[in-house]
């Protein structure tokens, strides 16, 4: 049986501290030696609409959610309504006693299309129209309902702390529910206090208020609810240093480790957090005393400026990157084409979200693989990397710069929202093997006496670089087709050679980058059933694969990490061994599957896709794969889980 761990969810209106709650909860579990995976869901809205955090807690590393919720900490009535069907029997709901009389269908933030469906659900199950009726239904299904007088507890806290206005502390409902949750779990409160102190560390008054609230709530749960969840949370052990971080943070740290010194961006979800995190750490610690390092983070007027400023910076030798999402990348496309034509080592971190157009600004999707690979007028070489988990986000952020400079081309690092905004516990990343490869750069001395040609024809297609400002190395760039000097040329024979020179660099990528950086393979080498995927579904696939392998199925998983240029020989060889190929992707058409077929002639036998704006869970991937393995699946399965 798969270890589902303990699944805690906190939900409430945006702006009510859901993120902070999850962060405290996750850290407190981390201090207890547990591994956490947490997914953040929010509307494109500042205050008021529903948001939630779904945390999974295990005694070993985990990178995906399951469908279950074992304990729901509801800051408001809407949270109960939206997530009621996810709570498992014997699970628990922490709910505000004062909200029991709320009429469900009158909750103003529930959208009409939700109400229509929910109305039917209420009718079918004979549930009345108040929140209390819905909770009664939950009780009948074996769910424990913990009614807590939020307001009365807040009043108690306010009077103890000498706060006159209750409105000043309603913000603390998040910590109140954490206290109740950990009280029910009989978890070591010292660890929770430590988490609170760590998070609010620099604000002593806030720390005090939160600690006090925590204690009151914790004790309230112990005193008032005889039912406890003591046995629900796994026991953890700590024998190493661990970190809890998001994909945005992993990329940011990977970038500065990889030598990024100029980062440009225009605010966009879910990319902006990365740039802000770098900016907050703009002065970088170094390993060598006296050596100073710092990153300049520039918020530009638009994404057009962002890509072109980064390219300009890259020409001077600074490692430079920009981060964006689909709409921003659309604006960057002309700049990408310039960078391709001028062989600029610029890195674009591309955080996908639900598209097209503005699409689902804060939700999930892997809709843009083909766009990342094909964007830009004309044919020019590029590398597209797709990380499959937060750890890979970190190492690929370094690799991206190394490839960009070694092969002198733009590198697009594709990530999606499920990696960007989810947080996970890891042993501290090992950086001992990380190296910097800058490719061939000529300095003043090497240039003495020679006539430098920026785009000299060479065997590999890679011309030695000179950085802008190098003595003896005056040179030119142009978006026009150019000769070896970088001056405009429309001559047909030069054009042919120049295109070939640029495109040839992809052969160098194919030859020189080790396959271990391009694909990951898991499971049985000669498996009959082969899963193919890329990006964030990895977490759910790996877990489902492990479980199905234990059940005796012959299963392998090919994760493509360098999606362009596709390591086609390896991919072909692996896939040809299998009897059944199952393509798993978070988009409508199975984009990677299509690309693989185009490049290798191997076609996908089954498709498991999802495009409801929510990421894949282990539960649904397991179920869908099992249907395929049992020979009961249609060619195409569309997954739909998620609130």
């Amino acid at each position: 049986m798969m270890d589902k761990g303990f699944n805690w969810m906190a939900g409430g209106p945006q702006g009510s501290g859901v993120d902070t709650a999850a962060n405290i909860f996750g850290r407190a579990c981390g201090y207890g030696g547990l591994y956490v995976y947490g997914r953040r869901e929010y509307h494109s809205n500042i205050k008021g609409l529903h948001s939630y955090f779904h945390l999974r807690i295990l005694s070993s590393e985990v990178s995906a959610n399951v469908n279950d919720v074992d304990m729901l900490a509801a800051f408001d009535a809407e949270t109960v309504v939206r997530h009621i069907s996810e709570i498992v029997p014997k699970g628990g709901i922490i709910v505000d006693q004062n909200q029991l009389d709320i009429k469900i269908l009158e909750i103003p933030t529930l959208p009409p299309e939700f109400k229509l469906i929910f109305q039917d659900f209420l009718k079918e199950n004979g549930i009345g129209d108040r929140l209390a009726d819905l909770l009664e239904y939950a009780r009948n299904k074996g769910i424990y309902v913990f009614e807590v007088p939020y307001i009365e507890l807040l009043k108690q806290i306010a009077s103890k702390l000498g706060i006159e206005k209750l409105s000043k502390i309603t913000q603390i409902i998040n910590v109140l529910t954490i206290g109740i949750s950990f009280g029910l779990l009989r978890y070591n409160i010292g660890l929770v206090k430590k988490a609170v102190k760590d998070i609010f560390g620099e604000k002593p008054k806030i720390v005090e208020m939160n600690l006090f609230t925590l204690e009151i709530a914790y004790e309230y749960a112990k005193d008032n609810f005889s039912k406890d969840f003591n046995d629900r949370i796994p026991i953890g052990t700590v024998n190493e240093e661990r970190i809890f971080l998001s994909g945005n943070q992993a990329v940011a740290i990977g970038k500065v480790l990889g030598g990024c010194r100029v980062q440009t961006y225009y605010p966009i979800t879910p990319a902006a957090d990365e740039s802000e995190y770098i900016e907050a750490h703009e002065i970088l610690p170094t390993k060598i005393p006296g050596v100073e390092a710092g990153v300049v983070v520039l918020q530009t007027e638009d994404e057009i400026a962002a890509i072109n400023m980064a390219s300009g910076a890259a020409l001077t030798g600074a490692r430079a990157s920009t981060s964006t999402s689909g709409p921003g990348f659309s604006l960057m496309v002309e700049g990408l084409s310039w960078a391709g034509n001028n062989e600029v080592p610029v890195v674009i971190t591309y955080y996908q979200r639900g598209a097209p157009s503005t699409g689902l600004p804060t939700r999930h999707g892997q809709d843009d693989l083909r766009f990342a690979i094909h964007a830009g007028h004309g044919e020019f070489p590029r590398i597209v990397l797709a990380s499959g988990d937060i750890r890979e986000c970190f190492y690929d952020a370094v690799n991206a710069f190394n490839y960009a400079e070694r092969f002198q081309l733009p590198v697009i690092h594709l990530i999606d929202k499920a990696l960007a905004n989810s947080s996970q516990t890891f042993p501290v990343f090992d950086v001992s093997k990380v190296k910097i490869h800058r490719g061939e750069i000529l300095d003043e001395k090497m240039l003495g006496g020679i006539e430098y040609k920026r785009f000299a024809f060479t065997e590999s297609g890679i011309s030695p670089r000179v950085l802008l400002g190098t003595k003896n190395g005056v040179h030119w760039y142009t978006g026009d087709e150019h000769n070896e000097y970088g001056h405009i040329s429309e001559e047909p024979h030069n054009r042919t050679r120049m295109i070939e020179k640029r495109m040839k660099k992809l052969e160098a990528v194919e030859r020189e980058v080790p396959i271990s950086e391009k694909i990951n393979f898991l499971g049985e080498q000669n498996a009959k059933n082969m899963i193919v995927s890329w990006g964030s579904p990895k977490g759910a696939i790996v877990e489902a694969l492990n479980e199905l392998s234990r059940e005796g199925y012959s299963l392998g998983f090919l994760q493509v990490r360098m999606v362009h240029p596709l390591p086609r020989e390896h991919v072909k060889e692996i896939l040809e061994r299998a009897e059944r190929i199952i393509d798993v992707e978070l988009n409508y058409s199975g984009q990677l599957g299509g690309i693989i077929t185009e490049k290798t002639g191997v076609s996908m036998d089954f498709q498991i896709v999802k495009y409801n704006g929510r990421p894949m869970t282990t539960t649904e991937v397991y179920n869908a794969l099992k249907l395929v393995l049992e020979g009961k699946a249609p060619k195409r399965q569309v997954l739909t889980y998620g609130a």
Binding site: E241, I243, E301, A318, L468, H487
Partner: protein, 321 residues
């Protein structure tokens, strides 16, 4: 070593039309660089798209010929990464005031220490004569089928409003004046814009060399043409902001001057203010070693090829054990 303007000359064939104002701009630029004795490898010319965009290939200094309208983002990226470089952005009026207007305005907010030269001839030359953003409303230059239906923008007033700290205008055929203005713009501490009036002998048959020279208005007393252009220098106009308290009024005065057009068109420095912190100063406030060790010059790996950055500090913040 003293430099001559010829040191800034390449062998690339210059393919502008005969009589094009660009020749004057090219010459003035080469002379300015030589007189300022900036070594060619320290100069980066970032040029846009259009006839003027080709200029970077004719100057023997680093040349980055970029996308239409994007000279300023590239130029700023280069300057920020390596502030030791002398970065000059050059583009046409369509490039900077049409497709690139957003960048023009936003660059002003940064007051970054670069120079921006605008070739201002009222038309899109390379696409064969359409109206550019500086062509006045109602004018019909020869290649457009109907009179211009758009109001013209005034680059000087926009630059003043956007925060440029050096705003000037010169004329392509007055190479000496232009050279001096370019030198001042390069030397200026902060973001400088020079609007360079320039006839297009092929497509602008209204604002011609003869029109600027006033050949249509003969002074009855002297029998000589009355030129439309006049120099601000020597008129008692003081463009310099000596104290921040006079900034607003100086800007207003500059805008007032910039509105003059028609029979009397001023050229020269309209506004100059070195009291506004430059972008480099603003970055240095945050990263104290920025000028000594800017992004382009930082060492990023050690002798073993391992990264210099110690990311353990980040991990410590994120630690949950």
């Amino acid at each position: 070593m003293a430099l001559k303007w010829q040191d800034f000359k390449t062998d690339v064939f210059i393919d502008w039309c005969p009589g094009c104002g660009n020749y004057g701009i090219l010459a003035a630029l080469q002379m300015a660089l030589a007189e300022l004795a900036i070594e060619p490898h320290r100069v980066v010319l970032v040029s846009g798209i259009g006839c003027s965009g080709k200029i970077s290939h004719f100057v023997k200094a680093n040349g980055v010929h970029v996308l239409h309208g994007r000279t300023l983002p590239f130029a700023q990226g280069i300057k920020i990464a390596n502030p030791d470089l002398e970065v000059i952005a050059i583009g046409g009026d369509g490039d900077g005031l049409g497709i690139g207007m957003g960048h023009l305005v936003n660059a002003g907010r940064r007051n970054i220490d670069i120079t921006y030269l605008i070739h201002d001839n009222g038309v899109y030359g390379l696409t064969k004569g359409q109206a550019s953003p500086t062509l006045k409303l109602g004018l019909k230059v020869k290649a457009i089928p109907r009179p211009n239906i758009n109001e013209a923008v005034n680059p000087l007033i926009i630059a003043l409003a956007a925060g440029y700290t050096f705003v000037a205008r010169s004329y392509a055929y007055d190479t000496k004046h232009l050279k001096e203005i370019i030198k001042q713009a390069i030397r200026h501490k902060g973001l400088a814009l020079v609007d360079i009036l320039q006839p297009c002998p092929t497509y602008n048959d209204i604002n011609t060399k003869e029109w600027y020279a006033g050949e249509d208005r003969i002074d009855p007393k002297t029998g000589k043409p009355a030129p439309r252009l006049y120099k601000l220098e020597g008129t008692g106009y003081d463009p310099v902001v000596h104290d921040l308290s006079e900034d607003f009024n100086k800007k207003l005065a500059a805008m007032e001057k910039a509105r003059e057009w028609g029979d009397k068109i001023p050229i020269g420095v309209f506004y100059k203010n070195e009291l506004i912190p430059t972008f480099r100063e603003r970055i240095t406030q945050r990263i104290p070693f920025y000028m000594k060790n800017p992004p382009a010059k930082q060492k990023i790996y050690d002798d073993e090829g391992s990264p210099i950055t110690d990311v353990y500090v980040f991990f410590k913040e994120l630690k949950v054990t």
